[in-house]
Symmetry: C2
Subunit: 427 residues, 2 copies
């Protein structure tokens, strides 16, 4: 095998016809494999089954501050739960508000409140402005982009570099446009590239001059404890950096236990400056009776502290690391010598991000789908679903079994080769 | 004892000085009693403890439609949960979306989405209009009014009559003002008066001509199964009435299990036309990963069906009916002959609504508070916290013990007498 560009037309045609035959054989297998979303596998969910037995009918259900967890109260969460997230996010408990089972809801609602009511430093609610824009480092998380699209916020794509967003570009944009009110970030083991922002990027985000006085960083620290190695990436503390830069209210940090315990039955949290937290707590009191305290108690009893969380996450890693390794091995074996794709080798998180040759991703995803392998739609990792180079494919290795995964990635590689050779032939 | 207005000045002064002495004695007891919020008592919470044991680590957690309730999915709830609420609200499962632990959140978010995105029949999102108004039948639920106040919606007070809102007034207002976009209703065992809307009121709400094409009824059916008698009030089906009146999308119905199982750890639902439900489901998919499925499964296994729910609610009634009776007896004994207050005798719900003589409620609540008995703030049952006649006091009898309750109501009656006699003397 060799670099495609070194092959002449006849060699390319032979290769293409060989690949076509293989693809035709694959189709006959009637596969039905799904690598489209970052879901934990059943084996990972089994790790948390004990959680279900930790709040029982015979238990004491009155906790600190004399709170009966079965009744109304605690709009911003139990102190025990705040302490757990405070340790995880390296902030003070008073900088935390506990949310429900979905950090996506926390993020959506934080944007919605900014639109309807404004944030601490707003002169006017954002929805009263003629135009609101967010920066979207991309490839990024499709559900962040969906929130903007649904709420009518204009998205500006900023390129992701090896240590985070292109900060030269970010600084230039926010300095000159007061309509730019926010930026979406997945700063650790980013979705989909697995990149952790460098200290310099964090510092520049905290320090940069913004035309909008009420600019906010939406810091989705979704994978903060989701390591795949024993040498985890380190992320600089953004809230501290913001205080140091005299922009104390600039950041909202979001986290959840969705991929620690049970997605859909976890708990979430928002961390921010005390001033931001106090305003949000006040706003929340008209919005909700507060998050499920019984489920908070289950989680506090199960996860205990950061040390216990880290031990628990090692069990997750033991299950999913072989899947990441499998994907990387197959990609290396099948694609490396052709020079038709590049990919990341993440130290944590839930995804492997792959770039095909420009203009190939949509066709690859289509072919894979027709062969029974469902991938995240091409373009989904970019605002408005439009990847300007049509090259990024997000691989979610956690849910399928190792066997299914191997088949799925082999099919993916086959499709990448098919489309790449076709492209070379069409030149 | 006799009607105050029949007493001469000297008799009034004697009575006042006698009441002052009693009040002074009460203050010495250093009471600390809270009748301010509609919370279930610990004994009521004990009724649902079995719920905590119905989803355990050894259980099968894959349910209908092959859904693993531990993982992502089901943004609008499990079919099992929809069936449960469908039976409770007498609608079809496809007219239901399951929410999280707070119907207050569902209501807030439904208003927020209308502001940000509009509803099915909207020409423009409500927040883009210069002015949005809601009708607020009053006395009513303070948290409905807080949502409007927080979101900048102007509230128009409409008087509550014996069978629901003053419909002549409602019809006149909505017919002539296109800025009136909604009305808040607690149609069954209303908060605070315990009134159930008559069939005629429901029909007129469904049929009335509205200037706004996207007018919505926010129908908070919070107490739909919360009966205090064996002859429950019957509420006409609003969704059917709306279909019959050719206004199929006019109503959003809200309900929850907050006062059935555990407040803060219950489940909630919204019911509406299929067209409304389909739009909300689409909007929700950018907003949340969906409600907690493990908690839905607990509830489905515990509550089973409407028959089981009704049996369960009879156990609640057995605990709280004696408290309602106690309050009504003390009010009758202490106040009836003076002609200084009126009150309702509800067939269900969580409150007794009491009206003092005009201009007395604020002072009564203040005196009671100074004697250690905390009541819902006077005015809270009206928009902007302003009771135009300063007379309504909401009594929440469920949480205190019978002994505490007796003391608290006796103190309340003493304060009502004190303030009423003072008022008579000052004439």
């Amino acid at each position: 095998m060799t670099d495609l560009s070194a092959l002449d037309d006849s060699e390319l045609k032979d290769l293409y016809s060989d690949l076509e035959k293989k693809y035709s054989d694959v189709k006959k297998q009637n596969l039905s494999l799904d690598m489209s979303r970052g879901k934990p596998s059943p084996e990972q969910l089994d790790l948390s089954m004990e959680l279900l037995d930790l709040v029982k009918s015979e238990d004491t259900l009155v906790v600190k501050e004399a709170i009966d967890v079965r009744n109304y109260g605690s709009v911003d969460g139990l102190i025990e739960t705040k302490q757990l997230f405070a340790e995880m996010l390296d902030v003070a408990p008073k900088q935390i508000i506990i949310g429900g089972n979905s950090s996506l809801s926390l993020m959506h609602d934080t944007v919605a409140r900014a639109l309807l009511l404004g944030v601490v430093d707003s002169k006017t609610p954002w929805s009263k402005l003629p135009n609101v824009k967010f920066l979207c480092p991309s490839p990024g998380y499709d559900r962040h982009f969906s929130i903007c699209e649904a709420l009518g916020i204009e998205m500006i794509t900023v390129e992701m570099l090896e240590d985070g967003p292109d900060m030269d570009k970010v600084e230039e944009l926010v300095k000159n446009d007061e309509n730019i009110k926010g930026i979406w970030c997945v700063p650790k083991y980013s979705n989909p590239e697995g990149i952790t922002y460098s200290d310099e990027v964090v510092t520049r985000l905290a320090q940069m001059e913004t035309k909008a006085t009420d600019f906010r960083i939406f810091w989705d620290d979704a994978y903060t404890v989701h390591h795949l190695t024993d040498q985890p990436d380190q992320l600089k503390n953004l809230l501290d950096a913001c205080v140091g830069a005299n922009n104390p209210n600039r950041a909202f940090i979001f986290a959840s236990t969705s991929k620690v315990t049970f997605p859909g039955s976890g708990i979430s949290a928002i961390a921010s400056s005390e001033e931001n937290i106090n305003l949000i707590r006040k706003q929340l009191s008209t919005q909700t009776i507060g998050p499920d305290k019984l489920n908070q108690l289950r989680h506090v009893r199960f996860l205990k502290d950061l040390k216990t969380i880290n031990q628990h996450m090692q069990k997750h890693a033991a299950i999913i690391k072989p899947k990441f390794d499998m994907v990387l091995n197959v990609l290396e074996t099948e694609l490396a010598s052709y020079n038709i794709a590049t990919w990341n080798e993440p130290n944590g998180g839930y995804f492997i991000s792959l770039n095909t040759l420009d203009g190939c991703a949509t066709e690859v995803v289509k072919l894979a789908s027709e062969a029974g392998v469902k991938l995240t739609p091409a373009g989904a990792t970019y605002p408005y679903g439009k990847d300007p180079k049509d090259r990024n494919i997000r691989i979610a290795p956690t849910f399928p079994t190792l066997t299914e995964l191997k088949t799925a990635i082999e099919v993916l590689c086959l499709c990448i080769k098919l489309v790449s050779v076709k492209k070379q032939l069409d030149k």
